[in-house]
């Protein structure tokens, strides 16, 4: 009898889950003006794990995340909630794990996104809070990246910008964002430099983004972030779905640190070919250089995304070749200094 009730309970739970999954949900985009529909509370997130092996047996490649050598390691558990009621919305996204620790410089804090926004009109939006940066092609969450390892442009650029921004959409094809952000990147409070004469930080970084949709399937973002403390970065991020199967992405950036303190520039290409519903192959080819004679590095990453339901398997092989002046040291299997490094990595990302 107990078994029957147990089976019955399981069956009902399964049916209810299937039914809930198949039900359409009102979205807020459709509804009568007398009976407006708001989207439900949205839960989203991901978890990721990986194994990496540098062919030298040493962890050489220094870009963000996925650094642990010959170890089944974890990225992070990322949990986000968001809700929109009428014109007002919020997003809160928390993360825990090594990928979180490496992406949030403030020890003990676990916030990736925390902001509120308001649609003043259908075309004009205001947002304020701590937000992922608007700069760059790659992002912190592995669920929103094609490659698991990250580029030098990503690693050296901003991760988050806290501030206030206004976005106006002139049309479906053109929009402009402008905002003011805290004086330094990646901090949720404005920051006082150690030894500075002032006792408080300020909101002195100006940011702007021009979005263009020049053709069907083609998006381009021209980005600028500039401030007396954070420096100035120009960035172009663009992607073009040229055919149903072939996509080409490009990221180019130039950063100048304040007070002639150097900087970097670089370019990365991201061609990707979908060979089936579940398998896509991609290449990231990147050239990155530090200013003031800081050396350069060229990196090629061959990556595949293999989708199995909510899980994406990401095997990749990466080859980095650097100049002697590049500040990171690579070593071979004997521990001798070398200018190239090759690694294999396989990751599994579950996104929901």
């Amino acid at each position: 009898m107990k078994k029957i009730f147990l089976l019955l309970s399981l069956f009902i739970v399964a049916i209810m889950s299937a039914k809930a999954g198949s039900m359409p949900v009102d979205t807020g985009k459709v509804g009568t003006s007398d009976d407006p529909k708001d989207p439900p509370l949205i839960l989203f997130g991901s978890v990721d794990t990986y194994w990496k092996d540098d062919f030298s047996g040493k962890a050489n490649i220094p870009t963000s995340f996925g650094n642990e050598q010959n170890s089944v390691s974890i990225g992070f558990v990322d949990l986000g909630i968001k809700k929109k009621v009428g014109k007002a919305a919020f997003v809160g996204e928390l993360s825990f794990g090594p990928r979180s620790d490496q992406s949030i410089p403030t020890s003990g804090y676990h916030i990736q996104n925390l902001y509120v926004s308001y649609d003043v009109t259908d075309k004009f939006n205001l947002s304020a809070g701590y937000m992922s940066t608007f700069i760059g092609y790659e992002v912190i969450s592995p669920a929103a990246n094609f490659n698991y390892s990250t580029s030098y442009l990503f690693t050296n650029g901003p991760f988050q910008n806290a501030g206030f921004k206004a976005t106006y959409a002139f049309s479906d094809k053109v929009s402009l964002m402008a905002g003011v952000f805290n004086n330094y990147w990646n901090t949720y409070t404005s920051f006082v430099t150690h030894g500075a004469a002032t006792t408080s930080g300020d909101v002195s970084t100006f940011g702007a983004q021009l979005f263009l949709n020049p053709a069907k399937g083609w998006t381009a973002y021209l980005n600028l972030a500039t401030g007396p403390y954070s420096g100035t970065e120009f960035d172009l991020t663009t992607a073009y779905q040229i055919t149903d199967a072939f996509k080409l992405g490009l990221n180019a950036a130039d950063f100048s640190a304040p007070n002639n303190g150097g900087g970097f520039s670089g370019i990365a290409l991201y061609p990707q070919v979908a060979v089936s519903k579940v398998v896509t192959f991609g290449l990231r080819g990147e050239y990155f250089t530090y200013k003031n004679g800081g050396g350069n590095v060229t990196a090629f990453t061959f990556t595949s995304n293999i989708k199995a339901g909510a899980i994406t398997l990401i095997p990749e092989i990466r080859l980095d070749t650097k100049s002697a002046a590049f500040p990171t040291s690579f070593v071979d299997s004997n521990g001798a200094s070398t200018n190239s490094a090759t690694q294999f990595l396989i990751a599994a990302v579950y996104a929901f």
Binding site: P24, T27, K29, V30, T32, F44, S132, A144
Partner: protein, 195 residues
């Protein structure tokens, strides 16, 4: 007896799990369509046309009007689909569709067709946004979506169309001329004096 109860529960469960995909038919061009003809006695074609225009104007914030005259209207709009996980759902894509309403004296018909699915992807701000260049007609979506996923979207489309039909029918039955905007519905007035 217990077996009968168990059987009934199982049957009910199966019935509730069955989807709304069957609400969609195929038209002459093998495109999915939701088609209904509704009687509305007592109203001429142009009056029904005004009501239809009012319904469309108030119902679809994202619409793009394709054509309209006294007795017919055609708009393009979309609704969002959601992922199949019941405990943590988020937007998984949007389905764009074309709604046509044609009115004649004492009746009208409407049909919803030309469904195009656009998948969403997560962006850096925790938003789910359309993937550019990945649109696919629902009729051809099996080459891009797995079977279960596609069935889920067809279910959601069927239910959404049914909901539009219900809303439209209700709207077309209302006497909008006597309804004073902002005033409470007199028929719902509760008299507390006598009890």
């Amino acid at each position: 007896m217990k077996k009968n109860i168990l059987l009934a529960v199982l049957l009910l469960g199966f019935q509730s799990a069955f989807a709304q995909k069957s609400l969609l038919g195929l038209d002459e061009n093998n495109r999915y369509i939701y088609y209904q003809v509704v009687d509305r006695p007592g109203l001429a074609a142009d009056s029904l046309g005004k009501l239809a225009l009012g319904f469309v104007t108030s119902s679809f914030a994202n619409k793009k009007e394709k054509s309209a005259n006294d007795s017919s209207i055609k708009v393009r709009a979309y609704f969002e689909t959601y992922s199949a996980l019941a405990f943590a759902k988020h937007e998984s894509g949007r389905i764009t569709f074309e709604l046509s309403i044609e009115c004649r004296n004492n009746k009208y018909r409407y049909w919803i067709t030309d469904f195009v699915f656009t998948p969403y992807e997560r962006d850096r701000y925790g938003m789910f946004v359309p993937v550019v260049g990945k649109d696919v007609a629902l009729e051809n979506a099996k080459i891009k979506l797995d079977k279960k996923e596609l069935e889920g979207y067809l279910d959601q489309t069927g239910t959404y169309c049914q909901d539009i039909g219900t809303r439209l029918k209700l709207y077309m039955q209302l006497d909008h001329h006597s309804k004073i905007k902002g005033s409470p519905d007199q028929s719902k007035k509760i008299v507390t004096k006598n009890w």
